[in-house]
Point group: C2
Amino acid sequence: MLLHEPLDARETASPAARMNSMTQAREVVVVGAGVIGCAVAYELARRGADVLMMDPRGVGQGATQASAGMLTPYIEGYSHGPLLELAVRSLALYDQFIADVRADSDKPVPYERTGSLEVSTPDDASDRLSTVAKDLAAAHVPCTLLDAAATHDAEPLVAPDVSGGLLIPEHGYLVARDFTEALVAAAARRGAATSSPTQVRRLAAAGRDLRVETDDSTVAARHVVLAAGCWSGRVAIEGVPPVPVRPVRGQLLHLAWTGQPLRRIIWSPRCYIVPLGAGSVLVGATVEEAGFDERATVAGVRDLLDAACELVPHAWQAGFLGARVGLRPGTPDALPIVGSSGRMPGLVYATGHYRNGVLLAPLTAKLVSDLVLDERTDPALAVTSPDRFGAAA
Amino acid sequence: MLLHEPLDARETASPAARMNSMTQAREVVVVGAGVIGCAVAYELARRGADVLMMDPRGVGQGATQASAGMLTPYIEGYSHGPLLELAVRSLALYDQFIADVRADSDKPVPYERTGSLEVSTPDDASDRLSTVAKDLAAAHVPCTLLDAAATHDAEPLVAPDVSGGLLIPEHGYLVARDFTEALVAAAARRGAATSSPTQVRRLAAAGRDLRVETDDSTVAARHVVLAAGCWSGRVAIEGVPPVPVRPVRGQLLHLAWTGQPLRRIIWSPRCYIVPLGAGSVLVGATVEEAGFDERATVAGVRDLLDAACELVPHAWQAGFLGARVGLRPGTPDALPIVGSSGRMPGLVYATGHYRNGVLLAPLTAKLVSDLVLDERTDPALAVTSPDRFGAAA
């Protein structure tokens, strides 16, 4: 029963509400309070739904607490095909989504669209960035290919051997922890409740409702949104095989930055560096198949330190605030799992966002809310449907 | 008012005791609850003194919380001359001291005399370890010089390029946090009280007593032991210049160890690795003049990771539990400052132990207790006297 921060009375379900035993069904229970669960709960509540969000770990934990908060769909190799389409749609929703969250939460969510600078070094394939630039130009995405001198003008802190760069002005970042806390506060302001059961054990049908069984209580709901990240497969669902999400470990460093600040996200083939406010930066990230092991490692920390110092030598002067580790929810086809279950009416999945949870949060919130409240099926759900794995979900 | 762990009623001064306003003088107030303050308070209480120990940071903080707990006076270059004499005397007290602390605290202090293995590589001066071995043999200190094969037999995990080693069986280590907590518990069992004022501001004479002024209260004492580590110079002492201690930053890594454990302390010119129980090791340590900045740094963490992996390649497989930072109390001549003030009767210094706080704790406790309770002056105090700095203390 540990929440990330003390929740005020409106944010926390009362003991009586927690012990609610099927007497009155919630309209929606959201299982999982990472950035996806919080965005979904907020959007549902904003549209007037009666929402209870529950997460044994509390708010903004799991992959979210280790997220660098990047909003960078056009980085080379980062997303492509249907994933890129989802990412671009979600990015387009972001200005309004942040404005709503700020207004409803009264919290100043740090959110910047400073652009990103992807850089190349002489070791890279010489045409890597120019190929990306041509593709983006063809898609009418504003971007500027820079030579070595212009790259150093754009960001004087990059290493002397950086030989070129690609500036993408639309890109940006937010502070994922602050964002998630603001989402919860905004959802609460809109009437959503939050609880932190010891464990969410099982979902089962109960007449025309669903039953969410936790270690502490049983809650009835018309709809359940499963947004439990890499743990989504661990919630037993009566008669439905586990959803095929797996943990993909990401390590991230939090460094204290002094002197000249970075102007925007810097991205190299080995790492990225995201400037945060208040004199710190995040350096990410490893991508590791390590099961549910949430520990940082010597190899991961050393690799990130090396990569950061190679990209921006000034990182040698930085303080070391700590390593963060998140388990991203990976899927077999690297696409998220968003949509209604074909096997259990009332169950909606919102999981499997892998490295893109923050970026895809506004779109996921919209798609799920449209489905749950208006039975509206967006064409995007064709690629994210949980039914695409056949027997698996 | 934060203590390292909740103290039970016997360990904490009551509010009434804290507000004690000169009505009844304590026999001894110990300012500072690092390993030195705790050892002194315990020894005084064990001999029957009425002791109050106070530290705004709580128990076992400061340099102590980042100590590797090594008991290694004979490591090359680690101590020499008068410091070596003090260290050897203190090491000889350790078995009995630990036995007393264990008995009085009922806590199992992790304390091992497994020996240390100092290693050389082909880069080293070829006769480095053999010179140390000759000196130790002349001083009748048991040690064994090992060739490359024997070194790898003694510790199979050292790197293939290790070309020799020096085994010193008397060496050992303890877990500094557990040791300090046991000292406090043992001191409490012997009647000592502990308090955690917001700040210790000032010492002044008050008749034949001393007055310890904190932000919360004023306490009278017959004797005051100043054991505030690198912060000792920040306690204003009426009519006495600050003691010349300065912070010397040390960074240490805490790693999770799996697979074959290390058999003993491994020491190279670049780092040392101390095996702890429960599958973890400590890697130390940087030595930095960085003022009172208690942050870990990119450079420090990276250097220690590199050095550890170079010495024991298996460290690549380790988990990264975190970086610890301590500010050691350095002195102009690298010797501790232990003894009575020549300027303020009743004031005794026990500070400036630099890298040797844990090792010198039993001897310091003895010297200070002899002075305070029996007015006995050990010859060792000639080299540790606070008066040696002339006008400075």
